[in-house]
Symmetry: C2
Subunit: 451 residues, 2 copies
């Protein structure tokens, strides 16, 4: 992704004894590249030394791009004074983000070193819950009154140019700082200097979110309406901050990672490469525990039935077929619900309709796979009863897997809990158990009855 | 996501006999909302009627937001002349995107109705392969020579205001239209009217991609460098177009969906809600086939071993434990590789290091789960030999699952094939088979030897 040659070049100049020419360093390299170079260093002392060489100006740009390990290390070990200087320079949302990585006391110590204004802003942002619009927003923005002219607005942008980084929209507010409208820079640039904001504001419905909005909802708005920035308000419409699209890009990836990891059964922290092997194993173990437990319960079920049908030993050969297929259908069904909900394709109003459709899909899948597997079983074992047992049980276990695979995450969604939690191992374990129960129940019935 | 009340309101006014006030409709509703209203209509004739009411201006804004079904229907059924008028109004990338949904002849017919200039642009975009930067880019952009002043540039923006929608950066080119630099609107707005482009261009390294760059790579650049728009060039640095961040948001979601669906075994088309139940089932069936086959192979394996160890019937009760745990570890390992590669966290240079780490993780997981399962098996069956068999085979099958789960996708990555293909059912089926083989092999050995 990042040019490995350039990253290596940066790492070498940071690890060498010679000082870095901080004046030209940022012209030559992007903060993300410098961060990648520091992340590659394996020795903690060397990381600190390399970061120290960057000075406050570059350091404040690089800090937010670093991986967890280097970032936490730097925040723990560098003098609070120097860290305070960097926090002062950073965007408020990055500063709040970085400081949530360390203990509360350490964060307070660092915030003691910054100006009162920045301290207030950053502390306020840190109070918003993670995964909300308030946590994502930055307070750096340009807002002007409705009667401002284009020329006055441009003056204000010029004055705030240092403080506000990327700028895409101007927010228009009333005398009590309540959001009235937005205006793109493009429109500002082509308008007469004497034109007033209230006449230029977009005439489409005003888009905004409240600070407590869920980040998945915010991301869906950006996606649906092709937004670049979005104002955040409180319940009285007072303008609190703005969310910029690059943070949304991170949210989308985070949510996708979380969904996938939940589905296969692993904490999404396991995706981060910097953990040690033991730490990685720890992030993955809990789900394996549920898998083990599910396995033993399923095993106990087999043991139970084995007694009654010990003459039908051949049945055990079909255990993997039944387990495999019902597991797969259940995983498909719950993945579709989890992603459909996460991306907004399945809205709250459509849960019931979706569920009924999923049952129909399960019916088709069950009939097709049941017939194929039944014929295969008959040909393999040579006895029609096996074909019947396998075919019927595959049919029922697929339909049940589709039902549970979608119903469980839909229930979570309905109860306002992230459906991804239910997506993976729970559904899988339940499918294994119910699939085999159906299989052995049908086998016992048919064999007893047909004999 | 979209306010259901508003969407219903739109649907009602579109389905009523009264004509729509096209003048105020777009002021009141966002094209995405109008599209959502049309997507909710179940009858094809009514969809066409509703869309027809929108007229060319609104229709061209709505078309790109529609779901596949309504979009394809409209493109197939509406007169080419009207469609041509809409294509003329659309952004070139949206137009190209929409037209790839219909047959080549139909697309050509529609393109005959547009101006030569638009026809050329759109046909050229349609030639780029899907999933490349060329396919994502739009040709609408503002580029100016290096010696242009700020005032001249603003004039050019004013002239092009109709054609170019969202504008975030100005591209600076030389006399042969080769990209020399970029400039943000923010910088343009605060600079002196007489300042020249060559003095204002960003002094950071110039960011761009070539038209054949993979869209995953492009998305990673946007993410890493917090971009809003990115110029696309040919191999001679000639400026071809620009990619805007809202298309990247779609790409990220598309890739995440694709990865997840591949992992659980379903075509990512199955995520789209508009398909009928039969069509949905068809998107999911192929993976179930591989699951069935894998199950039968595993079953045959059990059948094989059953002959030799029919006295150790209790072993069958452990089949679900071994299958469950090795399946879970394999799914975790391959999900980590698939997402790590997709998001750029695992670069091409780090494949070997990652693999070795994964083996270590497997070791920890194997030892932990092996001991737990071994003790549980001993307590359950009361015989130490079962504890030993289960513990050892869980250990080996976990390590093997971690090995195959990461090695197979890493091999695909190394061979430049999307690793997601290998992530799901292939790895799962191989894990089931190898896990049970290890289990029965160890059981046969130990039981024969210890007796």
């Amino acid at each position: 992704m990042l040019d490995p040659g350039r990253v290596k070049e940066i790492a070498e100049s940071l690890e060498s004894a010679a000082p870095v020419d901080t004046g030209s360093f940022l012209e030559k390299y992007h903060p993300a590249e410098i961060a990648a170079a520091i992340d590659q260093i394996h020795d903690d002392d060397k990381i600190l030394k390399a970061f120290h060489k960057l000075g406050v100006d570059i350091g404040s740009e690089v800090l937010a791009h670093l991986d967890d390990h280097a970032r936490t290390l730097i925040l723990e070990k560098l003098p609070t004074e120097k860290l305070g200087d960097m926090i002062e320079e950073m965007d408020s949302d990055d500063a709040a983000d970085v400081l949530t990585d360390v203990s509360e006391e350490r964060a307070e110590d660092i915030l003691h070193e910054v100006s009162d204004e920045v301290e207030q802003e950053v502390s306020r942002l840190m109070e918003f819950e993670e995964d909300t619009a308030g946590h994502l927003m930055q307070t750096e923005l340009v807002s002007v009154p409705e009667d401002y002219t284009v020329a006055e607005t441009i003056d204000k942008i010029r004055v705030m140019s240092e403080e506000v980084g990327d700028l895409h929209n101007i927010f228009v507010v009333d005398e009590r700082n309540r959001l009235r409208g937005t205006l793109s820079l493009r429109k500002l640039i082509i308008s007469q200097p004497s034109a007033r904001m209230k006449d230029l504001m977009d005439d489409q419905p005003l888009m905004y979110v409240t600070a407590d909005a869920d980040q998945e909802h915010v991301a869906a708005l950006f996606k649906k309406y092709d937004l670049v920035s979005l104002p955040v308000v409180d319940k009285d419409m007072t303008l609190l901050g703005r969310i910029v699209v690059d943070d949304i890009v991170d949210v989308l990836e985070e949510e996708a990672d979380e969904d996938l990891m939940m589905m296969v059964g692993a904490h999404d922290e396991a995706l981060v490469q910097t953990h040690s092997a033991v730490a990685m194993a720890r992030y993955r173990l809990p789900w394996l525990g549920s898998s083990l437990l599910g396995g033993f319960i399923t095993g106990a079920l087999i043991w139970q039935f084995k007694m009654t049908i010990s003459e039908a030993l051949a049945l055990t050969a079909f255990i993997p077929v039944v387990m495999g297929i019902s597991g797969n259908v259940g995983a498909q069904s719950s993945a579709l619900v989890v992603r459909g909900v996460a991306t907004g394709r399945i809205g709250r109003g459509a849960l019931r309709r979706y569920f009924i459709k999923e049952l129909k899909v399960g019916l088709f899948l069950g009939v097709t796979c049941g017939i194929v597997a039944g014929i295969a079983a008959y040909l393999w074992q040579g006895a029609p009863v096996y074909g019947l047992v396998v075919g019927l049980s595959i049919f029922f276990s697929i339909e049940l897997a589709a039902l549970m695979g979608s119903a469980i995450p839909l229930f979570f969604k309905w109860a306002n809990i992230d459906p991804a939690i239910a997506g993976g191992p729970i559904v899988l374990a339940l499918n294994d158990i119910s699939g085999l129960f159906i299989f052995f129940a049908i086998a016992t019935l048919l064999i007893t009855y047909l004999r």
